[in-house]
């Protein structure tokens, strides 16, 4: 049994290497295509075109008091010809609404929202006395999905941008993310941009004015993870039109496509992932040609947890969302009707993301036992571990290279050294810890506990 399991782990590793290498190569092709397209000219044309689609920026906020004003200020300064901002206060118990009302001179207004999606009751709607395109919706607490559904009902744009109240968009992020909608309006239904970690950066008046890596070890590990996930993975899946996630922190969606798909599902914590998977399903079922695109350059900055306690909660939440998205859309798995999404992307998610932690952790135990009873030599075991570390390093280096070519946000040699150090270091405990938390999420899927939200420091305090 031990030997069979070890061969199974070996086969699993070979599959992992094959899929991730393919995705990395395709990511390189996609990044090259993106950088060769003359982005600046396209962007300037977009910003002046009366045909640019209108966008409703939906900011969900739950107890985001300390950072909400800076967030909204940074959104009001975005470069885009036609957009409105809708802040949805999802039953905060702090002074989120009061701060907004005071800072932007908002007053209560009558507003008849289009009943396109179900959501918890709205208590009040506020709008400014001036011509600012800002709306504050105060509703009963129902979670992020519910808040987004309310935002969609109140929105008037052709597209909507979902983002968190604790995130900051770069000035041209909206225009860059909207480009695929302008270039291919008939097919593009969703686009996502790069989410970067703001910890360690200097933020002034809602703008990142100095980019730097975080000092915290926990946040540093996440920087490496984000670079690998966004540049090494999402770009590659885009090339196959099989991108399964547009990050909830920053994504742009065609409103009518999301309404047709039924909006955000409120019974899951991974609403962003589940929506995108469902968009694949509904578009394929309807025979509608579609594209879901990850754009490597536009940046949204977000605060990452710096303590293991909050990181654990976050990762359990993400993993639970991942499992639930698979359960809700299990009919797509290995189904040729859904092309690459059903035949490769979803199975990869099932095998590597959901079952992977179990297989890997069990692999450690079984292989140590095999060494102890002499079924395999210690040297073989060490060589296998070295192989996995080297391959992880290979993926990280590839992703950093793509990041350098397309954005180069961390140009200092010291930054590169630190990222590589953490890429090696994550194999010594961090990754295994994440796996343990991800396995815990199986229990959460059954028990469905609520999750405590990370207390945000606000961006004024992000520069440390």
């Amino acid at each position: 049994v031990v030997i069979i399991y070890l061969w199974f782990v070996f086969a699993f590793s070979v599959c992992f290497v094959a899929v991730t290498s393919l995705v990395l190569v395709l990511a390189a092709v996609e990044v090259r295509r993106y950088t060769a397209r003359g982005q600046v000219a396209n962007l300037r044309v977009t910003l002046r075109s009366p045909l640019a689609p209108s966008i409703s920026v939906l900011v969900t906020a739950y107890n985001e008091g300390p950072g909400i004003i800076d967030s909204v200020r940074s959104l009001l300064a975005l470069d885009y010809p036609d957009y409105e901002i809708i802040v949805i206060n999802d039953g905060s118990t702090d002074d989120t609404s009061a701060r907004l009302i005071e800072a932007f001179g908002l007053r209560p207004v009558h507003w008849a929202a289009q009943p396109v999606l179900h959501h918890r009751p709205v208590r009040a709607v506020y709008a400014p006395r001036t011509r600012l395109n800002l709306l504050l919706i105060e509703k009963e607490n129902g979670g992020k999905s519910d808040a987004l559904n309310a935002g969609i009902s109140f929105s008037t744009g052709d597209l909507f941008c979902s983002m968190d109240g604790d995130s900051v968009l770069e000035q041209d992020a909206l225009a860059k993310t909207a480009l695929p909608f302008i270039e291919d309006p008939g097919r593009t239904i969703a686009t996502g941009g790069m989410v970067r970690i703001v910890n360690g950066c200097r933020v002034q008046h809602g703008r990142v004015t100095r980019v730097a890596l975080p000092h915290s070890h926990v946040a540093m590990f996440q920087v490496v993870e984000y670079v690998r996930a966004f540049f090494g993975t999402r770009t590659g899946w885009t090339a196959m039109n099989a991108l399964l996630i547009v990050s909830g922190a920053f994504g742009l969606f065609r409103r009518e496509a999301v309404i047709a798909a039924g909006g955000y599902r409120t019974e899951t914590l991974g609403e962003d992932l589940e929506l995108v998977v469902r968009l694949h399903r509904t578009c394929r079922k309807a025979g509608r040609p579609y594209r879901i695109v990850y754009v490597p350059d536009p940046v949204c900055w977000t605060e990452a947890p710096e303590s293991l306690r909050y990181l654990r909660k976050q990762r359990r939440r993400w993993q639970r969302g991942c499992i639930e998205a698979l359960l809700f859309n299990k009919g797509m798995l290995f189904n040729p009707r859904y092309r690459t999404a059903g035949l490769l992307a979803l199975p990869s998610m099932l095998v590597f993301e959901v079952l992977g932690p179990v297989i890997e952790l069990l692999g450690y135990v079984v292989s140590i036992y095999a060494v102890m009873v002499g079924l395999i030599s210690p040297l073989t075991y060490v060589l296998f571990l070295v192989l996995s570390v080297l391959y992880g390093l290979f993926l990280t280096l590839g992703a950093i290279m793509l990041e350098d070519v397309s954005a180069n946000r961390f140009p200092a040699w010291e930054d590169l050294r630190r990222m590589l150090l953490y890429a090696v270091g994550e194999n010594c405990g961090y990754r295994q810890l994440l796996h343990v938390w991800r396995i815990e999420a199986f229990g959460d899927v059954v028990r469905k506990p609520g999750f405590e939200v990370m207390a945000h420091k606000g961006f004024s305090a992000a520069d440390q």
Partner: protein, 340 residues
């Protein structure tokens, strides 16, 4: 097994080493480029600013890097310039041979080179390279073709415009965004050039873009063509109604009223017609809009309330009546409209 693993480890270590070296090389190149840029950008932008404001001596780049930087600065500057300063800068690019280089690059074998050249010519938009742009309309790549077409729409002779319109029609399926930009450029240049794209036999996708452009650019000359589109499919009728509202075409009122009350048409098209009636400011539409405000469809109710709010005292009176005695849904919309 151990030997095989050791071999794989060694091979992967070599690959990682190679990747690390490549990464270092990429970083060195990026740094050098950044340094060169920081060194060359200020003098290039100062020279261009001096030249376009005072009309003094034209800048003379000494070597290839300076030449490339001057072009980059000039192209970025062109986006924000207009009038004589823009003409002066384009003339400078022509004198220094950049435009000839770009025209020649339009026939290059590599698609990326041709795309860059076509985009550069689109930014400069000068009639100096018309033959190359005309030839570019037959390029095998859709983006090169549409870039050339966009430039020709701005600077080509009037007799070229039908070819430009044909190029937009051809590429609307393969490069819809770029083809839409061509239609937009045509509309800005000469509304009459959009007429063939608005005809009954024009393909639906390009017709929709042309209708949208006519509306967004508020081109009153094309209002009759937009009115004809109100009798077309619901999607086209919606865009046409929006356009007529933006134009403020008073002659469209009758057809817009017909569309608004036609229960067989899509709600979206009817709502667009109602919104247009409000934008045009036709107070005689109040008797039509008042029942729609009390109707069952949310988009129609919302549009009717908004339109009534734009129709002066008769509209406001209808809204007040809805607040006083209408059903709850109508009251909600009417209150919102009265407040705004």
């Amino acid at each position: 097994m151990t030997a095989a693993l050791a071999g794989t480890d060694a091979a992967l270590a070599a690959l990682v080493g190679l990747l690390a070296l490549s990464l270092t090389a990429v970083r060195v190149v990026i740094r050098l480029r950044g340094r060169r840029r920081r060194r060359l950008w200020p003098p290039a932008s100062q020279a261009i600013a001096r030249y376009v404001t005072t009309g003094g001596d034209p800048p003379r780049p000494a070597h290839r890097a300076e030449r490339a930087m001057l072009l980059e600065v000039a192209l970025q500057t062109l986006f924000d310039l207009g009038g004589s300063e823009r003409d002066l800068l384009v003339e400078l690019l022509e004198q220094l041979g950049y435009l000839d280089d770009a025209a020649a690059a339009l026939t290059a074998r590599r698609r990326a080179v041709r795309r860059r050249a076509a985009e550069m010519l689109a930014v400069t938009a000068t009639p100096a390279v018309l033959p190359a742009l005309l030839a570019g309309l037959d390029d095998p790549d859709a983006l090169v073709r549409t870039s050339c077409a966009r430039t020709l729409a701005r600077v080509g002779a009037p007799d070229v415009l039908p070819r430009v319109a044909a190029a937009a029609e051809r590429d609307i399926a393969t490069a819809p965004g770029a083809a839409s930009a061509v239609v937009l450029a045509l509309g800005r240049r000469d509304p009459a050039a959009l007429t063939p794209l608005l005809g009954a036999d024009a393909p639906q996708p390009v017709k929709m873009v042309a209708v949208a452009v006519a509306g967004r650019l508020r081109l009153p000359d094309l209002a009759p063509a937009l009115r004809a589109c109100l009798h077309d499919g619901d999607q086209l009728a919606t865009i046409a109604a929006q356009g007529l509202g933006l134009i403020g075409d008073i002659e469209a009122v009758g057809e817009l009223r017909d569309l608004a009350r036609d229960a067989h048409r899509a709600v979206r098209a009817r709502a667009a017609a109602v919104t247009a009636l409000g934008s045009i400011g036709d107070p005689w539409s109040v008797p039509l809009l008042e029942p729609l405000l009390r109707g069952a469809d949310w988009p129609l109710r919302a549009a009717a309330a908004q339109a009534l709010g734009q129709l002066g005292e008769p509209g406001a009176a209808a809204l007040r009546r809805a607040v006083a005695s209408g059903p709850a849904e109508a009251r909600e919309h009417a209150e919102a409209a009265l407040q705004w």
